[in-house]
Amino acid sequence: MFAYYLQLGLHSLKRNALLTALMVFGIALGIGTSMTSLTVFYLMGSDPIPWKSDKLHAVQLDNWSAEEPYRAPNEPPDQVTYLDATALMQASKADLQVAMFKVVWPVQPENPEIKPYSAMGRATYTDFFAMFEPPFKYGGPWDRAQDKENARVVVLSRDTNEKLFGGQDSTGKKVRLNEVDYTVVGVLDKWQQRVKYYDLTNGAFNDPEEYYVPFTTAIEFKTRASGNNSCWDSPKAGWEGYLASDCVWIQFWVQLNSPARVAEYKSFLDNYVNEQKKLGRFPRPLNNRLPDVNEWIVAQRVVPSDAKIQVGLSFAFLIVCLVNTVGLLLAKFMRKSGEIGLRRALGATRGQLFMQHLIEAGVIGISGGLIGLVLTWFGLMAVRGLYADLNNVAHLDWFMVLTAIALSVTAAVLAGLFPTWKACQITPATQLKT
């Protein structure tokens, strides 16, 4: 009977075409609005690296002032000092570890037709590539020995390689960055992350870097971070004074492959800080943290509270659309009361009629959902046009497509429950005498 009900439902779409169109468009509008905001909300907060997000941990050491916390109520800084970054790298207690910071250097192409330009890059360690798993198109990362040797090596993004070398395999070729030649060891493939979780301090939805160079090399060239830099005490003069200061400007991440390793590393951090306290640093009570990727995204408030309000409002709008649909469905089903009475007279049970009309409501829901998806697509296009930083999160994926369809069918069936129940209460005898 399901196929029969479905056939009747499709047939019914044609009947009272204006009424049907109003209902379908009402649901489509509600779905389009709610799915646009929900998609952005979902993609902002969803796990960017689900296969290992529980193994990657940001390192937070509370080296802040005794007088006040880094952020109320008692949050430790979200970056670390150069002193601590180098100490933790040397200790090498994690399965993988990386200290890194954002740099902006001029790129000076050999090709005279391409003008020099300023580009954002990342000074990092080789473990970055194993930890965050950007895909390589050509070559690979540099090695640990090259980290120690302050090697002049670089990994290019796909776009940079496209711009400088026309997309050809450029490994072994030279790229001039900030007046120094670097040898290309690897070229990444397309790597578009929804959330740039490994450096939230410099913008959760920023584009990926255009090149990656060894951390040690950037330090050798006295490169200051182009990103967030926070100090609670004035650093001593000069580059060495800055490196020795309590200013935080380096993101530090570790990969710990088991909960036991997490506990071990936490203990190591606590011991490290206690040792530092003996040297007069870390005046605050012990407050080290090791949030994993998802905890980090929550703690750093990647999803702004106004996004939640927006989702709430758009769902309130969906409810308004549904209330409207309830009224229209009621009108549609009541206009069919003659047919309902007839079907009862011809042997349909109330249950069969209930199912028939619920499926009819479902058909309206699917139609509304499909049009709603088109509206969502336009909505997300508008979001991308209005907010360039949401480019990576304002996209439909399959999960959200299925969610939209399921939501619209559920919504329409819910909206159809009362009209359907009401329609099934029709006394056949009163409808048949015309």
Partner: protein, 241 residues
């Protein structure tokens, strides 16, 4: 085929009680063609609705084809209605946006026949009423008489043993009415029981037996039905003793 003993039907509001049927008894045997007549508001439509299990009754006893319908729930009544009863309405009651094939299909769907069996029955019965060539047409494309023929085909398709006809020619001109009546008589001759509510004394006279209803009671009744061929105009009723 249909037996009611001392049946009553009372409509209650918070102010008044209306007795639509009182002490209503009737026995219709298999193969009979019974006409139910009476003035407007006499209770004949209420009787037909109760006979068709479209309305519940307030008291008394009621059997259809030997099945006691008292205490049946809504689903049981629907199944019994689908299996045993075919309706022919004054207003035809065809579904306007279904073609003739799909209109006749409606009761068969609820019976649960497979597609091949439904197709066979639909084609057979539309052929029987002379509309086989118009299966894909819609009701609006037919005359009133043709629409009533489709309704008759629909009432025949499930092979119910009892047909209930409510003013089946009420919306037709005399020529079409005669055609529909002849079709009903032919169906009856083939063994189907028919109960027909009508205002028209001429039509009533063509039935084998007349039941006259006034104020919810049978007042005129041929108590001992002697099955006879339709009388074609000679239909005098016999007073009940």
């Amino acid at each position: 085929m249909l037996k009611m003993n001392h049946l009553s039907k009372v409509y209650r509001t918070h102010l008044i009680e209306t007795h639509a049927l009182r002490d209503f008894s009737i026995h219709v045997r298999e193969g009979e063609f019974v006409a139910v007549t009476g003035p407007s508001g006499s209770g004949k439509t209420t009787f037909l609705n109760i006979a068709g299990l479209l309305e519940e009754f307030s008291g008394g006893e009621f059997w259809i084809d030997g099945v006691d319908v008292r205490g049946m729930n809504d689903d049981q009544r629907s199944r019994l209605r689908n299996e045993k009863i075919g309706f022919i309405f004054q207003g035809f009651n065809l579904i306007p946006d279904l073609n003739l094939f799909d209109n006749v299909d409606v009761p068969l769907r609820y019976r649960g026949f497979d597609a091949a069996e439904r197709k066979r029955r639909i084609e057979e019965n539309l052929t029987r009423v002379g509309l086989a060539s118009r299966m894909k047409h819609y009701p609006a494309e037919l005359s009133g008489g043709q629409q009533q023929r489709v309704a008759i085909a629909r009432a025949l398709a499930g092979s119910p043993r009892l047909r209930l006809a409510d003013e089946p020619t009420g919306n037709l001109d005399s020529l079409m009415a005669r055609g529909v009546m002849e079709l009903l008589e032919e169906i009856n001759r083939q063994g189907t029981t028919i109960i027909m509510v009508t205002h028209d004394p001429e039509l009533a006279a063509r039935a084998q037996r007349n039941v006259h209803v006034i104020d919810g009671q049978v007042t005129d009744f041929e108590s001992e039905p002697q099955l006879r061929a339709p009388a074609h105009g000679s239909g005098a009723t016999t007073a009940v003793a």
